[in-house]
Amino acid sequence: MNHQEFEQFVTESGKDILRFCRMTAMDREAGNELYQDTMLKLLEKKNKLDNRENVKSYALSVSVMLWKSKRKKYSVRKRIAPVSSLEDAIERGEQFESESCGSLETAVIKEQEAELIRAVVAKLPDKYRIPIYMRYSADMKTDEIADCLHIPLNTVKTRMRKAKQLLKKELEVMGYDR
């Protein structure tokens, strides 16, 4: 992979990888650092990378490996869904002009809901959490996740199924969509 191809790869897959890193590290700054470390590692190896292969899958493998071996550095800080009122948000001068949300209030509620979901997912054991992030944050297919984690396809499916069961249970206990 030459420099241009690498740039292209970053443009095409960078967002998925960064999203995955932020979710996995459970912290924006730590996730950014994990992303930078991952891409740096890839850049160092870019001459050995073949862009006909699934480089994104390899990149996520590197992220997982880095995160595992550097867990202290990316300090696992369990996120707690923030209790942020609409008034607080307005006071901070936050702008909510999402076309899909329509109103400031809806936008805040949506963001709080997203934070809540992220917090619940973050509580899952790693073996369930990582495949969920790969699927939803990094937009990976199940077979790609299996390849990336070096585990059988059926194991990925089992873990995803179990993860969703746990999430449903937790969300329902919290009174969510019961």
Binding site: V10, L18, K70, P125, H150
Partner: protein
């Protein structure tokens, strides 16, 4: 909650927008000489080992010939086998008479001997974890240990370790430890992640000790796990081999085995059994790395239609993997 609703929530919550500016690289690549060791993931040890709390009492490692299984086995209930085959004969003199006593020491249910290597781990297994420390240039390891003694008239068993320390994870109300000596050595003891339940909640306490004692009749339970930790100053090429290994997988296996041996060189676990008549006997356990073929390790290359792959490539019987093995000294 419907599956569709959950799917929608996850898609929305876990895929926030990211701008083009955020994915720009902010650092330049280092050259090889600048590579530093990885940061220690000591906590990872317990995490990985314990997150799969399913592992307790299931005997991941079977006896020789099929002592290591592919990860596809992970979610199945593998039966623990009785590994007792022979006995280790140890002699002990008392003031009154010379008696010959024997006991069998097993690791992961496989009998240990001076000439029998019990494979402990393979790559990506959850019984073992390794991490590095960028600032301190060290490599730390943590290996789950499942030792068990069998013999007659044994009252209690003490395990002590040189060149490392033990971590014990247990539920406070289900402790089987009758005595323990806190670790006060120079190695850094880091918080472990502990035992978690299926919802990811921590439910255990961790103890870091240099020795611990168990009653013969209560050597194991489903909520106690043991790990041995150690640390060594690494060489710069270790991190590439251990954590990134983009070299040929067989070459990497050889190098990993070399590193494992070096990491465990100073680690010795002594098992001392206390007999009811007041006599004792002991055996010393050592560990080291070994590169073996998948065929030698007895690992099935295909299971339930799933082909075992490494870096996306199907594994062949002659492909090598690095293992840690234990044997009696």
């Amino acid at each position: 909650m419907t599956d569709e609703r959950l799917e929608q929530l996850l898609e929305t919550a876990l895929a926030p927008e990211i701008s083009d500016a955020e994915i720009r690289m902010k650092r330049k690549a280092r050259n090889g000489k600048m590579n530093k060791m990885m940061k220690t993931g000591l906590a990872l040890a317990a995490c990985l080992a314990v997150l799969a709390a399913v592992g307790f009492g299931k005997g991941y490692f079977k006896e020789k010939d099929n002592s290591v299984s592919v990860e596809a086995m992970e979610d199945k209930n593998t039966e623990e086998k009785d590994g007792r085959v022979n006995t280790v004969n140890l002699t002990e003199e008392t003031s009154e008479e010379k008696t010959i006593k024997s006991f069998t020491l097993t690791a992961f249910s496989a009998k240990m001997d001076e000439n029998v290597e019990v494979p402990l781990i393979m790559d990506n297994r959850q019984e073992w974890v390794i991490g590095g420390d960028e600032e301190q240039n060290t490599i730390h390891y943590a290996i789950n240990t499942f030792f068990k003694c069998e013999g007659e008239d044994i009252e209690s068993i003490k395990y002590s370790v040189e060149g490392g320390f033990f971590e014990i994870e247990e539920l406070p109300d289900k402790s089987i430890i009758t005595d323990a000596q806190d670790y006060t050595g120079k190695l850094q003891v880091t918080d472990s992640c502990g035992l978690v339940d299926e919802n990811g909640n921590n439910i255990s306490t961790a103890r870091f000790v240099s020795e611990y004692t168990l009653d013969y009749n209560a050597q194991q339970n489903d909520t106690t796990f043991f790990a041995v930790h150690g640390e060594k100053e690494g060489e710069q090429w270790w991190s590439d081999v251990l954590f990134y290994a983009d070299m040929d997988a067989n070459e990497a296996a050889e190098k990993k085995a070399e590193i494992y041996t070096e990491l465990l060189r100073d680690m010795e676990i002594t098992c001392t059994v206390y007999y009811k008549d007041g006599t004792t006997a002991s055996a010393t356990i050592v560990g080291y790395g070994k590169a073996v073929t998948f065929e030698e390790a007895g690992i099935p290359l295909e299971e339930n239609g799933e082909v075992l792959r490494r870096n996306g490539i199907p594994v062949t019987p002659n492909d090598k993997m690095a293992m840690i093995v234990f044997r009696l000294k």
